[in-house]
Amino acid sequence: MPEFELSAPSRAPVEEVWKLLFDPARFPDWWVGIETVREDAPGRFTQWPTGYPDFPMPQKLRTDRLNGRVTVSCQVSDISFVWQLAEVGAGTSIHVSVSLPDREAHRLDGQRRDVKESLVRLAALAEATSETVSR
């Protein structure tokens, strides 16, 4: 199964990143490729990819007994994103593991690119929120 892992630091405290990660309605603000989100039920939401307003993709968001871990899995493509946060000093380390089914292997590089960019945006948005607050 094709998969990859990425990490990025954020100067924002962990709670700021946590709020963005646990609130699917905020995903379009930082997750590359997600244009809009509709929350359907606890742990379930539908996202529309950027540029595809007629292409709803149901998603599951599952929290975990492991600290700060959130799994988002696409019900259409079966691509799974496991996010995990750790406190590092005053900031946060953001880690993500992505796995794709074999039939989606051709999207591996694209996903790697998008997720890398998403990590940067998530870290920056959390910092911005934090900075906004502390300004």
């Binding site: 709670e15 946590w18 709020k19 929350e39 929290t63 406190e87």
Partner: protein
């Protein structure tokens, strides 16, 4: 009119003609005639066929009803799917008539009741319990008549009634004291003294006890001034040598306990060092002070029945008390000894609940209440000897009682050997000390040479040289000193080398029948009662008893016999080897002499195992397992079921039971293994039953609704076409419950409709279960309007069925539904109903109290809510449950936060988090952060918010609600720092998130919360509208900096 005679030989006649009935039908008629009107069919089947499986019991009952109806016709018997009974007005019963006449003052009727045995020839438990009830009722009637005639000044007539009462209860000291006093008052002083002498003899021979204070006082009064005498207590015929300092410590502990500062004493020492003798000395002093005394000992021979120590202690203690009024706990004690409820004035069986843990807690609480009741008017001495041999459940109950004595006049003495190590005993003491219980530890070391010499001289008039030999041989051990002295007094030239040799020397000269008897006593490892000795059916028993009493190894205790010391029994047992026949004979004697087979089943089975008779042991292990289950002792129940499986590995039923017991213990892998093994033994037709039972374990014990759906679905697929309606209904109900909890609630509603077509509408347990599943479905569907009707129906059925566990579910679901729909007054009514329905069942009552407190808090009735938090804590303490205590602190913290008691809230929530309460940890941390911010401690509040973000999050934590809650708390922290801009920004951000969640359907989260946190989400309910209203008010106050309301709102 049908006439049923229950006094003497049971008989039935109509119009003077005797009606002949087959035995099972006759037994059923006798049972139903004890109380006219409907009886629950399940209960009747269990009572009449206790050893049959549930299905076989029901089938037996159906056959007996058919036979009874055939013999009596249709006009007297009323039977439905759930009940069966004799119609009042169509039957007369002699015992009812006699009872009424006796109560009206008819002495002849009372005498008939006294002299004719109720249900003569019926030896079953239910008949025995009926006799106990009858005796207790009659004793009460006689006591009342006697008291009333004595008040009227007719002492002779009062004595006539008391004499009947004494005939009924020949060991009742209070009755005899009354009779002695009345005879003396009527001028029959000689008669009074004869009564006194006789009862004292009976008490000594049958119970091995001295007369208590009331009897001694009555006798002293009858003898006249200055005539009181004192008698030495049994077992105290030799003085206590040495031990002055230990006795002082013991006396000091007793004095403190008598003064109301209850405590525990632990006496430790090697075998034979004198622990029992020291305790006997204390008991003598306590008896002189009028204390209630109860003594029990651990036994590790046989099958180690659970709560063995307490099966000895509790009946003794119950004999020292009068019947309490309105005490449900007295019914629960029937699990330990079936005749106790009647003795304590209760005739109703305890209600059935489905969880062994609840059963255990109720039993523990009942024993605690008995101790409290016994200690209400006089001091109490409890003694648990040889706790190094005690079963785990006995130790658990020792700890439960020991922790709660601080404010009561109770001294609890435990004795143990110093070797081998017994970690459970160490843990018990460490736990008591850790909880601040006053514990006095007394170590008994060797006696000095002078003291041993004194012991030797007290045994026999030995020359100095022989005394020196005893001193050398005993090495400071008084038991060895006594044994050595006896050997030398018997003519031996030197003491035997060790105790085993001493015992061998003593038994070697015994004639064969006496050796048989001493070996049987040793094999038993405990005292054998007169009934058990008789049941051994040994030849020349009188001579044998005389011989072993003469040997000095054994003494008479009441009507029975016991070894002077456990070490002596162990020495004989060591020489016994594998004498299978001896153990088999002993097992069967113990069983045949038992008043009820359940409490002795494990012991009997253990002896049969040792005898190599697994064919006989198997059914006894099953009975022992059922008895252990009724005590809530699941580890023992599992162990006994495992033994039953070992005895009959090809039987599926014990394996299924074992699997279920393992499920209760949370041993899931073993549950799976045994369940699978059982299934392989079942025929194709029986597979459905196995899957149905699996479903029940998964939906109740394991609380895995999705897995239970799969099991029930499989049961449905395998259901034979001619499966009984009851099985079909069980499967469909299980499926409906699973769907309502974790599947498709619409399908659940449809399935419940199917169940309704199959079950009797008067089957209250089923009706309550159905209402419960219906409520969960309605909650998940957000259809709150139908909930009240379903709950009223289910709550009433649960009450009628005596199922507080079901009543709890029903009323708490309704509390949730009404809270969610904003009807807090209705929610309070439902919470009140929940508390009322579970009163006395602490483990579930506590949860209902928590819900009630939360609803009151939501209504702003803080003054009523806050004390309930303390009540919750007190209940948790009574349950001995750190988890419940932690939960109670969490709930109290939330209530304190709502009430504006922020320091208290921060402290309580912090403690709950530290104690790892089963709560939503991130939500609790955010609540604590709010409390800290409002206390003006923003830095600590920030740290708590950070910890909240690092907590594991489960579905039941409702993560969608954590985000805006966290943001609002960040706003409060900013405010505490004086940064109003930042506070305003955070609060607006939070309000925007809550705005998105308005009108959110929370039904699906309801069950996630239930499964994750183990309780309905009344406490900590998430209400987006309310959160938004609060934020709006807080923002408005912030926007108006000069607002005088600012401080109040924020």
């Amino acid at each position: 009119m049908l006439q049923v005679r229950l006094l003497g030989r049971v008989a039935t006649e109509r119009n003077g003609e005797q009606i002949s009935l087959p035995a099972p039908a006759g037994r059923l008629l006798a049972f139903l005639a004890l109380r006219l009107g409907p009886h629950d069919r399940e209960n009747v089947a269990v009572q009449l066929w206790p050893d049959a499986t549930a299905a076989a019991g029901r089938a037996n009952l159906r056959t007996a009803i058919w036979a009874l109806r055939k013999a009596l016709g249709d006009d007297v018997l009323e039977a439905s799917r759930t009940s069966v009974g004799l119609l009042p007005g169509t039957v007369t019963v002699d015992v009812d008539d006699c009872r009424d006449r006796a109560a009206a003052g008819d002495a002849a009727a009372a005498a008939a009741l006294c002299h004719d045995e109720l249900l003569a020839g019926y030896t079953e438990d239910w008949a025995d319990a009926a006799r106990q009830r009858q005796r207790a009722q009659l004793a009460q009637t006689l006591a009342e008549r006697s008291a009333s005639t004595e008040r009227d000044g007719d002492a002779a007539d009062a004595a006539r009634w008391s004499r009947l009462r004494c005939a009924l209860e020949p060991l009742d000291e209070a009755a005899h004291a009354d009779l002695i006093r009345q005879l003396a008052a009527a001028g029959d002083r000689a008669g009074a003294l004869v009564v006194g002498r006789d009862v004292i003899t009976r008490l000594r021979e049958q119970l091995g006890v001295r007369p208590g204070p009331s009897l001694r006082a009555a006798l002293a009064e009858a003898r006249g001034p200055g005539a009181a005498t004192s008698a030495s207590a049994p077992g105290l015929n030799r003085p206590l040598f040495g031990r002055a300092s230990q006795l002082r410590a013991l006396a000091a502990a007793w004095a403190a306990a008598r003064a109301g500062q209850g405590r525990v004493v632990l006496i430790t020492g090697e075998a034979g060092i004198g622990k029992t003798r020291l305790v006997a000395e204390l008991a003598r002093r306590a008896d002189n002070a009028g204390a209630g005394i109860a003594m029990g000992a651990g036994v590790d021979v046989g099958g180690e029945a659970p709560l063995a120590i307490w099966q000895e202690l509790v009946p003794q203690l119950a004999r020292t008390v009068s019947a309490p009024e309105n005490a449900n706990w007295a019914s629960d004690l029937g699990r330990l000894a079936p005749d106790l409820p009647a003795q304590l004035g209760r005739d109703a069986p305890p209600p059935v609940v489905s969880s062994p843990e609840l059963e255990r807690l109720r039993l523990f609480d009942a024993v605690l209440r008995l101790v409290e009741w016994a200690a209400a008017n006089r001091p109490v001495l409890l003694v648990a000897e040889d706790v190094h041999r005690a079963d785990p459940a006995s130790m658990q109950l020792c700890a439960h009682i020991g922790r709660r004595l601080a404010a009561r006049p109770v001294l609890f003495v435990l004795t143990r050997r110093d070797r081998p190590q017994r970690p459970a005993a160490d843990a018990l003491i460490a736990d008591l000390v850790g909880r601040g219980v006053e514990v006095t530890e007394i170590e008994l070391g060797p006696l000095s040479q002078a003291e041993v010499a004194a012991v030797a001289r007290s045994v026999a008039d030995l020359p100095d040289a022989a005394v020196e030999q005893v001193v050398d041989a005993a090495e400071g051990n008084p038991l060895l000193a006594v044994a050595s002295a006896r050997a030398l007094a018997a003519g031996r030239s030197a003491p035997p080398q060790d105790l085993r040799a001493m015992v061998r020397a003593a038994t070697g000269t015994l004639p064969r029948p006496a050796r048989d008897l001493v070996e049987a006593l040793a094999a038993a490892g405990r005292e054998l009662s007169a009934g058990e000795l008789a049941a051994l059916a040994l030849p020349d028993r009188d001579e044998a008893e005389h011989a072993i009493l003469e040997s000095g190894l054994v003494f008479r205790s009441g009507g029975g016999l016991r070894f002077r010391h456990a070490l002596l029994a162990e020495a004989v047992r060591a020489d016994l080897g594998e004498q299978g026949r001896r153990y088999e004979q002993l097992a069967l004697a113990i069983e045949s002499a038992a008043r009820s087979p359940g409490p002795v089943a494990a012991e009997v089975a253990g002896h049969l195992r040792r005898a190599g008779r697994d064919d006989l042991a198997g059914p006894r292990w099953q009975r022992a397992a059922r008895h252990a289950r009724s005590l809530g002792a699941m580890p023992e129940a599992a162990r006994f079921w495992a033994e039953a499986v070992r005895c009959d590995p090809g039987a599926a039923q014990p394996r299924l039971e074992l699997a279920e017991a393992l499920g209760w213990l949370g041993r899931e892998a073993e549950f799976e293994r045994e369940w699978q093994a059982a299934r392989e033994l079942l025929s194709e037709r029986e597979q459905s039953v196995a899957w149905c039972r699996r479903g029940k374990v998964l939906r109740t014990v394991v609380c895995n609704p999705r897995a239970s759906i799969e099991a029930y679905q499989r049961a449905w697929e395998l259901l034979p076409a001619d499966a009984p309606h009851s099985l079909r209904a069980d499967v469909l109900l299980g499926l409906a419950w699973g769907e309502s909890a974790a599947g498709d609630p619409d399908r659940a509603v449809m399935l419940l409709g199917e169940v309704a077509r199959l079950v009797d509408p008067h089957d209250d347990s089923m009706v309550a279960e159905m209402a419960n599943a219906e409520l969960m479905s309605l909650l998940r569907l957000g259809r709150f309007d139908g909930c009240e009707t379903a709950a009223e129906r289910g709550g009433a059925a649960a009450r009628r069925a005596g199922r507080p566990d079901l009543a709890y579910s029903v009323w708490i679901h309704l509390t949730c539904a009404l809270s969610w729909s904003g009807n807090m007054i209705g929610a309070l009514r439902a919470a009140d109903a929940a508390v009322a329905a579970t009163r006395g069942f602490t483990a579930i009552e506590l949860r209902c109290v928590a819900s009630r407190a939360f609803v009151l808090s939501r209504l702003g009735r803080h003054a009523e809510a806050l004390p309930l938090g303390r009540e919750q804590l007190a209940m948790a303490d009574r349950m001995d449950s750190p988890a419940a205590a932690a939960l109670a602190r969490h709930d109290a913290g939330l209530i304190a936060l709502e009430a504006g008691q922020h320091e208290s809230a921060a402290q309580l929530l912090g403690a709950a988090l530290d104690e790892d309460a089963e709560i939503s940890r991130p939500a609790a941390r955010l609540a604590r952060a709010e409390a800290l911010a409002r206390c003006g401690r923003p830095q600590e509040a920030s740290a708590e918010v950070r910890r909240a973000a690092l907590e594991p999050v489960r579905a039941g934590d409702q993560p969608w609600a954590l985000v805006p809650r966290m943001t609002r708390v960040q706003g409060l922290i900013a405010l505490a720092r004086g940064d109003r801009d930042q506070a305003r920004r955070r609060m607006r951000e939070a309000a925007a998130v809550w705005q998105r969640h308005l009108h959110r359907s929370t039904g699906a989260e309801y069950m996630a919360n239930f499964v994750d946190l183990g309780r309905a989400p009344v406490v900590g309910l998430v209400e987006p509208e309310r959160e938004l209203r609060r934020l709006t008010a807080e923002l408005a106050a912030l926007d108006d900096l000069e607002s005088p309301e600012l401080t109040e709102v924020l």
